[in-house]
């Protein structure tokens, strides 16, 4: 027996839109597959058996609920109470696994034997390979050749997990190009293959699926804040690339008008340069990878290359629900630079003994600004979306570069 679906605010299943954004801008070959996926997800999400299987895996395999941690030394340094939702402690080291377990369970339920995914930093690729190993499905991960070189440890992990990693040589050879190639593979093998999208982006129904699977972050952290802090946070802050960890934690607080929602994009080398990855802050509305949203583009409607020190934020688009939250004013989006993220990375290591992902470091880099705005008594919840072991070589190289500059 199906239970009724509760849809996100502003979301219309009929058109696949969050406000004016989203939709399904894809080649005709994929339209029937997306319709089938939409129906299959709606059925699974209403099915207590699917939910119970997913919840059991999240509990015993991922290690949920992840802790809420009050970072007292960081709080003293930045000037407000800082709470960390520790997604970095989830199995595989990031929030990505919440989504991949849900989707790979869905793939199995749909009778697909082969799963493909795109990955930038490799975290989503590792999380997909992990879910496929667990559930016994074939896995192919598309990864820009540039990122294959930048993120060698994650390539090795995926291969050990039984996945095949396909380096993508087109374009700038990063995340956007990996997603292009995954779409080309899917259009070719659509009957047999499940495409496991890693962010809250892509054509309908992916932004909906991914936000529902990541909303566990927001549900848990809202309850934990009430239990441990005795109150809701004044602000929730998360980094935004495609936007899956941010939408997951925001989802728990959308109805709490007193809670400010802040998404932090990558300003790269500066918003006044072409080398950034901040479509919400500095982009224009267009269509990329099947959805209407803000993105980085030329005046002529060609997609611009993004840049961020963190491979996971190095993407010119963003999920449509974030575009909607920006326009409605429910969330605010800011951007912090590569340098600020590197500073925050080091500060969290030294003050709290936590080594964050470079993506996650962007959220921490906005804390002083938030503290100045909200005051010393404010409580700020940060989505600590992933751990940074994968970034060590990159961070050391960046720090050495800065020391020489």
């Amino acid at each position: 027996m199906e239970s009724p679906l509760t849809l996100p605010p502003g979301f219309d299943r009929g058109t696949g839109r969050f406000g004016a954004y989203g939709g399904r801008f894809v080649a005709e070959t994929l339209v029937p597959a997306l319709e089938a996926l939409e129906g299959a997800f709606a059925a699974a999400w209403s099915d207590p058996a699917y939910r119970a299987e997913l919840d059991a895996l999240l509990d015993t395999y991922v290690g949920r609920a992840t802790p809420l941690y009050e970072a007292k030394r960081l709080s003293a340094a930045v000037g407000c109470h800082v709470w960390l939702k520790r997604e970095d402690l989830a199995h595989t080291g990031a929030h990505k696994v919440n989504n991949t377990l849900g989707q790979v369970l869905l793939a199995r339920r749909m009778g697909k034997r082969r799963v493909i995914a795109e990955t930038g930093a490799g975290q989503h690729g590792v999380a997909t390979a992990t879910a496929c190993a667990l559930l016994g499905l074939d896995c192919v991960v598309f990864m820009g050749a540039e990122d294959v070189a930048r993120q060698a440890p994650n390539v090795a992990r995926m291969e050990l997990l039984g996945a095949r990693v396909e380096p993508v040589e087109s374009g700038a050879r990063t995340l956007k190009d990996a997603m292009n190639e995954a779409l080309r593979d899917w259009v070719t093998h659509v009957e047999s293959t499940y495409y496991c999208v890693g962010s809250a982006a892509g054509p309908h129904p992916y932004p909906w699926i991914v936000r529902e699977l990541q909303a566990v972050i927001g549900r848990e952290s809202r309850a934990q804040m009430l239990a441990q802090a005795g109150r809701l946070p004044d602000a929730v802050v998360a980094c935004v690339g495609g936007g899956s960890n941010a939408i997951g934690i925001f989802a728990g607080f959308l109805d709490d008008a007193s809670v400010r929602l802040v998404g932090v994009e990558a300003a790269g080398e500066g918003l006044d340069t072409p080398r950034h990855a901040a479509p919400l802050t500095a982009g224009r509305v267009g269509v990329l990878h099947g959805a209407k949203s803000y993105l980085l583009q030329t005046g002529d409607g060609q997609i611009s290359e993004a840049h961020s020190v963190s491979a996971g934020l190095d993407y010119p688009g963003v999920g449509p629900e974030h575009a909607h939250l920006k326009d409605s004013g429910r969330a605010r989006y800011v951007a912090v630079s590569d340098d600020a993220a590197l500073d925050a990375f080091q500060e969290l290591c030294r003050l709290e003994g936590i080594l964050p992902a470079l993506e996650t470091a962007h959220a921490f880099a906005d804390l002083r600004r938030l503290a100045a705005e909200l005051g010393r008594d404010a409580h700020v919840l940060v989505c600590s979306s992933g751990r940074g072991d994968k970034d060590l070589d990159n961070v050391r190289a960046q720090l050495a570069r800065r020391a020489q500059a």
């Binding site: 009929g14 894809v26 005709e28 070959t29 339209v31 070719t188 309908h204 002529d300 997609i303």
Partner: protein, 289 residues
């Protein structure tokens, strides 16, 4: 399976056949017992200055309709040949206004071949849908084909396109169900582009004779001409499709010829002319005894 609402957006609008130039071209080919030959060239490859000349050569060699590809940075429906052509064209400075300029030059030179502007949606969004429809029609475009704009999303472009007298050419794929294919075809004005197999442009051919037969069925059911593309490379492939389908589309094979000629545009022109001529012959159905 859960309630599905998205597909209900397929709106069967005006079903009057277009009196447009594209439909007339198919009618003429049918009267001559041949399939119409539709070819694809990437505008701006190797440069916009060469585009009118290559289109004219294709028209003179027997192409009925030229799909003029607007290069795009992220062509997710295209295989390597058209991806590389797009990269070359963008590197050489192709823009949407530039492509329309090349087309005006073609028309000013007296070439009357039917032209479908082929491409992705975002350059159209950036240009403005109404502005694009107006300027494309003024430049001599007969129709628009937007790869990543399925019928459910097409209303904002369909209205200005129709007002400007442009046909909006829809796609059907092997994965498209019969009901949906008929609804999509019924809404088409110029013609329907049937993708022969699941895949990107330039892939290895599937069963082209069967794709031609499916296209013929759809044409019969909908009363609209249906052309078959993807994987059609050689005159033999074209003949297999042409046996039953109203039209044959060849793209990547020609794009590869332009690529092989490199900077030698004379050679590109000769090579395009030679292949289009052979394809055109292959589109003529053998006389039945």
């Amino acid at each position: 399976m859960g309630r599905q609402t998205w597909g209900e957006g397929v709106h069967v609008g005006a079903t009057t056949p277009s009196g447009g130039r594209l439909a007339a071209t198919f009618a003429r080919a049918r009267a001559e017992d041949r399939a119409a030959l539709v070819i694809y060239l990437c505008a701006g490859d190797p440069s916009l200055a060469d585009t009118p000349r290559l289109v004219r050569a294709a028209a003179e060699a027997g192409a009925d309709i030229v799909e003029l590809g607007m290069p795009f940075s992220d062509p997710t429906a295209d295989g390597p040949a058209i991806q590389r052509a797009s990269e070359r064209a963008l590197s050489a400075g192709a823009t949407l206004p530039g492509v329309l300029g090349a087309l005006r030059e073609l028309r000013a030179g007296g070439c009357d071949v039917r032209v479908v502007r082929f491409g992705y949606y975002i350059p159209i969004l950036a240009y403005g849908e109404a502005e694009l429809a107006r300027d494309a029609a003024a430049a001599g475009v007969d129709g628009l084909l937007v790869v990543d704009l399925p019928p459910e999303e097409a209303a904002p472009l369909r209205e200005p396109a129709t007002a400007a007298g442009l046909d909006l050419v829809p796609l059907v794929a092997p994965t498209t169900g019969i009901e949906r294919a008929r609804a999509v075809a019924a809404e088409a004005t110029g013609f329907v582009y049937a993708v022969s197999m699941t895949g990107v442009t330039g892939s290895a051919a599937g069963d082209l004779a069967e794709a031609g037969a499916r296209a013929s069925e759809l044409a019969e059911a909908s009363g609209r001409p249906v052309a078959v593309g993807f994987g059609v490379k050689t005159p033999e492939d074209a003949a297999a499709v042409a046996a039953q389908a109203d039209g044959v589309v060849v793209g990547s094979a020609l794009v590869r010829r332009v690529e092989a000629a490199g900077a030698d545009v004379d050679a590109a022109e000769a090579s395009v002319r030679e292949l289009v001529g052979a394809l055109s012959k292959a589109c003529q159905r053998p006389a039945t005894p």
